[in-house]
């Protein structure tokens, strides 16, 4: 059983006012694939490096399995890490790169050869074992970096944006391969990315960080359907959720020519005369009664089209998903209607917290 636990783990960099990671509490289950996601500078990489032992922990504790590793060096943590730039040893062959950790651990040569061959087989690197990294393509180097990690059968895999140096198509392929490989090996994995699509598609659970503070940790579905605050609501999902600060009126909030019903508990919890209403693009459709907008841009994706429009008196553009076959033309005036009033999110305009269930 290898659960990973962060207990109020904090990292302060000298000369900076606020901690890079602030009292992080996180429990990662045995065999779980947890994704740390957030904008750059949110502390996600620092969190991973704290777990790896490459960064000091100023306060709090980190446990791997039942062992407190807070003050232990990396080599005593039984972890393997995949770096963003792969960090392959340039003067060693693929086989030597993959076997390096085992060699240091004093594993017998025959055993190293067997395990390297096994990992190479899994990753399709068998033909490249005698090559140096510089003779490999980007995708192959990425797989060698993965191989170096799995050869060791560590207790935890740590991955720091391992796909960000690949081109778009390869990234999507490798994404599924990594997720499948992790399920097959069943090794607890912590994966850092700034790409919310990666986070949604790969993780059993996703932890969203901002400014060193954990915002929410939940399954991708839960994050998407019930974001706990404005930041998570705006960060997860592409295009982003429409967030509109709308006045409360009798029976709900005014949304153009209609009134959207607001649940009782939201109305009771609202601190002022307005609430922030969150509408996913797929919950808005062109036509019917609703907000009048002027179409700025239409993004046609084939199956769908995203319609970006501006409403009078509202600064941010609204995004609606529409049928890809016959979207409105640029410059047209249309109304956007809400499809499912139950799927509308509400947030406190001051604190940004979610209101209601």
């Amino acid at each position: 059983m290898t659960a990973v636990v962060f207990e109020k783990a904090t990292r302060r960099f000298p000369g900076q006012d606020r901690p890079a990671v602030d009292a992080l509490d996180l429990h990662i289950d045995d065999g779980e694939f947890l994704v740390l996601v957030g904008p750059s500078g949110c502390g996600k990489s620092t969190t991973l490096r704290m777990l790896a032992g490459l960064e000091d922990v100023d306060d709090g504790r980190i446990l791997i399995g039942d062992r407190d590793v807070t003050r232990r060096p990396p080599k005593e943590r039984d972890i393997a890490m995949v770096f963003q730039n792969y960090a392959l040893y340039p003067h060693m062959t693929v086989a030597e790169n993959m076997g390096f950790a085992l060699r240091i651990a004093g594993t017998r040569k025959a055993e190293i050869r067997r395990r390297v061959a096994e990992a190479a087989e899994i990753l399709g690197l068998t033909d490249y074992l005698d090559r140096k990294p510089k003779a490999l393509s980007g995708g192959q180097r990425q797989r060698v970096a993965m191989g170096r990690a799995i050869v060791r059968s560590p207790q935890v895999f740590l991955m720091d944006e391992p796909l960000s140096n690949l081109d778009a198509k390869l990234r999507v392929q490798t994404r599924t391969q990594i997720a499948a490989l992790q399920r097959r090996l069943g090794t607890t994995t912590v994966y850092v990315t700034h790409d919310q699509v990666e986070a949604m598609t790969m993780g059993d659970r996703v932890a969203v960080l901002k400014d060193g503070v954990l915002q929410q940790v939940a399954s991708p579905r839960e994050l998407y359907d019930r974001p706990v605050n404005l930041f998570v609501a705006g960060f997860m999902g592409s295009p982003a959720m429409n967030l509109l600060d709308l006045p409360l009126v009798d029976g709900g909030v005014r949304f153009g020519s209609t009134v959207l019903p607001v649940p009782r508990e939201v109305r009771d919890a609202a601190p002022g005369p307005t609430v922030v209403v969150g509408l996913r693009p797929e919950n808005l459709a062109v036509g019917g009664e609703g907000m009048a907008v002027r179409v700025d841009v239409v993004e046609e994706l084939g199956s769908d089209a995203f319609v970006y429009g501006r409403a009078d008196g509202i600064d941010e553009p609204l995004v609606a998903r529409d049928d890809g076959r016959r979207p409105p033309a640029k410059g047209a005036r249309v109304r956007l209607r809400v499809l499912d009033a139950d799927a509308v999110h509400h947030f406190d305009p001051v604190s940004g917290r979610r209101l209601g269930r």
């Binding site: 790896a52 032992g53 490459l54 060096p73 990396p74 080599k75 972890i79 393997a80 890490m81 770096f83 963003q84 730039n85 792969y86 960090a87 392959l88 040893y89 340039p90 003067h91 390096f100 950790a101 240091i104 651990a105 140096k132 990294p133 510089k134 003779a135 490999l136 980007g138 180097r141 170096r148 060791r152 140096n165």
Partner: protein, 279 residues
Amino acid sequence: MRTSTRASGASPLMYVTLTLVVLLSIAPLYFMLVMASRANSEILSVPPPLLPGDQLAGNIERVFANEDVQFGRALLNTLLVASVATVAVVLTSALAGFAFAKLRFRGRHGLLVFVVATMMVPVQLGLIPLYMLMTEVGLAGGLASVTLPFLVSGFGVFFMRQYASQAIPDELIEAARVDGASTVRIFWSVVLPALRPAAAVLGLLTFMERWNDFLWPYISLDFNHPTVQVALSRLSGGYYTDQALVMAGTLMGTLPLVVVFILFGRQIVGGIMEGGVKS
């Protein structure tokens, strides 16, 4: 505007210039060979000879036969002194350079400034204190006195630090740490191989510097422990100088350097770090 200089190759003018530079560089070496292979009287004739003669073997024989000069011993002495210093300088500079470039420790900055400051003291200024020091510890006169002071080099440390900080990405060291390597192991298995091009350059420079060093060995060494440069100076002593003899000695004193240059030069391969990390 010409943007494809590299693709289109060098111009004829460039070739002419380069050829001239090559000829000018080779000329002194060539005339060294010419003079070393002639009798002294031929060298002094007008016009001077332009082609090598047939006295080379005889002249070299005379150089080695001269008991005041001890040329053979001087060659071996210098080889020993320069080799020890080269290995030591490369090793200590790589170690210290790695530490300064990649390890975090208290006083790192101050120590580096101190190391760089040692480069600012001229050799001549250190001669007298160094001589007194060597006499004090009883090493004056022997080969140790021209070896020990040069086992560590401020320039070497600085040079390796600069190379290590730009050529070795932090992730490479972190990857080795996560793989379970100790700092010493990281140095041997990851850092030193990556420093090889710089180590070759530094080794070459150090070997040449030690081989060609004259002033300090001349002052410090006694009659029975000459180095090559000291021995050469003895060749030209006396009332009259046998230029053929001096040039034959100089030729013998230069050849080992050329050999070393060829051996080390092969190690200076660019692009050894290529492919390790994607930047």
